[in-house]
């Protein structure tokens, strides 16, 4: 298998903080790697190293077969980068932003304009193309930013938390775009704090915590590592919930969680399910919903790290802070 991205032993310090503490990762060509982790886990630092914006203190990385330090210029001609911060010039129009990138990439004025219009159409921005980007909504800006990273038809795309701060509809739209790119064979490295996002898009997932990779595999493999499946039972009549709870406790010796009008419990052995169903039937409890599913990535993350993925909002690192840290390290 050919790897579009290979990183080995990446280390990056910011003063006393170890942003990356020996990270290895690979992304096979044409696949999407989801880098999952809370704020401050080192995801952005890893992307910045791979996108040639930052030098690692130790370790090395190749993108498209080129060394990110020694052959940085070649790497840059293969990649597209969309950061957490919509990196568009707000004073320029949508068209001008894209034409500027096209011209910088050496495309003729006419072709750059054609490419800009093509991308604006694809991202549903044609009508807004002549307006300054500062008038765009957050979702539009993010789409323009993604369009900007596609002007040069990159083979490897880095998406650093592309949906952070977007409303659910914009998020789903962006997912569709990413799926379209995947269909074209683009290799994608996507960082996210949203477990659902990794679950929806990623072929493979690595989980970052405190600058280290603490788990990796497909979504299914990760769910399987925690060993647990989740049983959920929602009785047709709300007052039967306590009966459901009693039956489950009886069979499993574990009290279920009763939030949201349903009983939720982790089970190790799916064979207990028929026993529970029979007991409920004997008691005349009708289940409106009964499901057995693999545990969600959220539960996996909790099992792996001992804390929930979205519980560390205070560690958000702004670009400005990051810059300060880089200066300390310089």
């Amino acid at each position: 298998m050919r790897y579009a991205v290979q990183a080995e032993g990446l280390v990056k310090h910011y003063g006393e903080t170890r942003a990356l503490d020996g990270v290895d990762l690979v992304v096979p060509e044409g696949r999407l790697l989801g880098v999952l982790g809370p704020n401050g886990a080192g995801k952005t630092t890893a992307v910045r190293i791979l996108a040639t914006l930052l030098r690692a203190d130790a370790g090395h990385a190749r993108v498209g077969g080129f060394d990110v330090v020694k052959e940085a210029h070649k790497v840059r001609s293969l990649i597209g980068l969309t950061g957490q911060y919509a990196a568009v010039d707000e004073t320029l129009t949508g068209v001008e932003n894209l034409v500027m990138i096209g011209r910088l990439l050496g495309i003729s004025r006419a072709s750059a304009r054609r490419r800009a219009e093509e991308l604006l159409a694809r991202f549903d921005l044609t009508d807004a193309g002549g307006r300054a980007a500062k008038t765009y909504s957050g979702g539009m800006r993010r789409r323009l930013d993604l369009a900007a990273s596609l002007v040069g038809r990159p083979q490897v795309l880095f998406l650093d938390e592309p949906t952070t701060g977007l409303d659910p509809r914009s998020r789903t739209e962006l997912w569709e775009v990413v799926r379209g790119l995947m269909a074209e064979g683009v290799t994608v490295l996507l960082t996210t704090q949203y477990l659902q996002e990794a679950d929806e898009l990623a072929d493979d997932i690595v989980v970052f915590d405190h600058g280290r990779v603490i788990a990796s595999g497909t979504s299914d493999e990760l769910k399987a590592t925690t060993g647990a499946q989740v049983l959920q039972v929602r009785p047709l009549l709300g007052e039967h919930l306590h009966l459901v709870a009693e039956v489950i406790s009886d069979v499993l010796g574990d009290r279920p969680d009763l939030t949201g009008g349903q009983a939720t419990v982790n089970i190790k052995d799916p064979k207990v399910v028929p026993a529970i169903v029979r007991r409920l039937d004997d008691l005349g409890v009708v289940a409106a919903e009964l499901s057995l599913r693999k545990s969600s990535l959220d539960e996996v993350f909790l099992a792996l790290t001992g804390h929930r993925a979205e519980e560390e909002p205070a560690e958000e690192t702004s670009v400005a802070e990051m810059k300060d840290k880089e200066e300390v390290s310089a």
């Binding site: 040639t52 914006l53 210029h73 293969l78 990196a87 568009v88 910088l104 050496g106 670009v319 400005a320």
Partner: protein, 270 residues
């Protein structure tokens, strides 16, 4: 999926940027800084407000008190105002750079296969053109108010060339401030606290001999004094050579100190 080398455009095989391409990148990024003016002519007004306001205020408010007549004072102060405005305007480079950094545009540019110097050089080219505009505005509006050029076109062009040379040297300081300030607002604070005292402790607005003696010693060294005198000479007639030489020595010194510092700050970002 083809292999990377096959799929990459021919230009991508190279690991460096030729001078022609670097120039093209610079011009594209200079265009980017200037095209805003096309949509939003208010930008041009922003560039012009300070020159117009200062020219009017200094002439009509201080003229009578300092020189006894507004027209005499205009003839004296316009070169000083031109120098002051040029110094303040060098900081637009810092503000633009700092805005790009905080907005992530700088990272986007650095992730592209373009000349490393282009994001800086593009800004400087654009800001230099803005300097030319401000100079033309001063001379034009000054003429309307009664400022007389006694030297001719060569003098005016000479003054412009000297101002631009000094502005280019100062833009290294500006780049350093832009790269190290954590946000554009901080640049404004630096600009104000650096440029105000620097320009006012000179003979830009008042003759040196009216100042306390201890201050005169600094004023005689201050490059703003020499620039203002050189520009006076080039526009109104009078000695030029010594003041211009001292100004250029200052410019060289500033560039020699701040160019390496700026480049170091620039490289440490990537």
């Amino acid at each position: 999926m083809t292999t990377f080398t096959e799929a990459a455009p021919a230009a991508a095989i190279s690991n460096r940027v030729g001078p022609a391409a670097a120039l093209r990148h610079t011009m594209t990024l200079a265009w980017r800084s200037l095209v805003q003016i096309k949509h939003n002519p208010m930008e041009l007004l922003d560039l012009s407000v300070q020159p117009i306001m200062f020219l009017l205020l200094f002439t009509y408010v201080f003229g009578g008190a300092i020189a006894g007549s507004t027209s005499d004072y205009l003839q004296f102060s316009l070169p000083g105002l031109v120098v002051q405005n040029m110094l303040f305007a060098t900081l637009t480079t810092a503000i633009g750079l700092s805005t790009d950094i905080t907005k992530g545009v700088f990272d986007r540019l650095r992730s592209l296969p373009i000349a490393r110097s282009a994001p800086l050089a593009g800004r400087i080219v654009a800001d230099t053109l803005k300097q030319v505009w401000a100079f033309a505005l001063f001379v034009g509006l000054g003429a309307v108010l009664g400022f007389r050029v006694h030297t001719g076109v060569a003098g005016v062009l000479g003054a412009l060339a000297l101002l631009l040379a000094f502005a280019l040297a100062m833009s290294w300081l500006s780049v350093l401030i832009g790269l190290t300030a954590s946000e554009p607002e901080k640049v404004q604070i630096v600009a104000f606290s650096l440029m105000m005292p620097l320009t006012f402790t000179s003979n830009a607005f008042v003759p040196t001999k009216t100042l306390p003696e201890w201050l005169q010693r600094w004023v005689e060294v201050n490059p703003v004094t020499h620039l203002a005198d050189a520009v006076r000479g080039l526009l109104s007639g009078g000695p030029v050579a010594t003041h211009a030489t001292i100004s250029l020595i200052w410019a060289l010194g500033i560039a020699l100190v701040f160019a390496p510092l700026s480049l170091r700050a620039f490289r440490s970002r990537g």
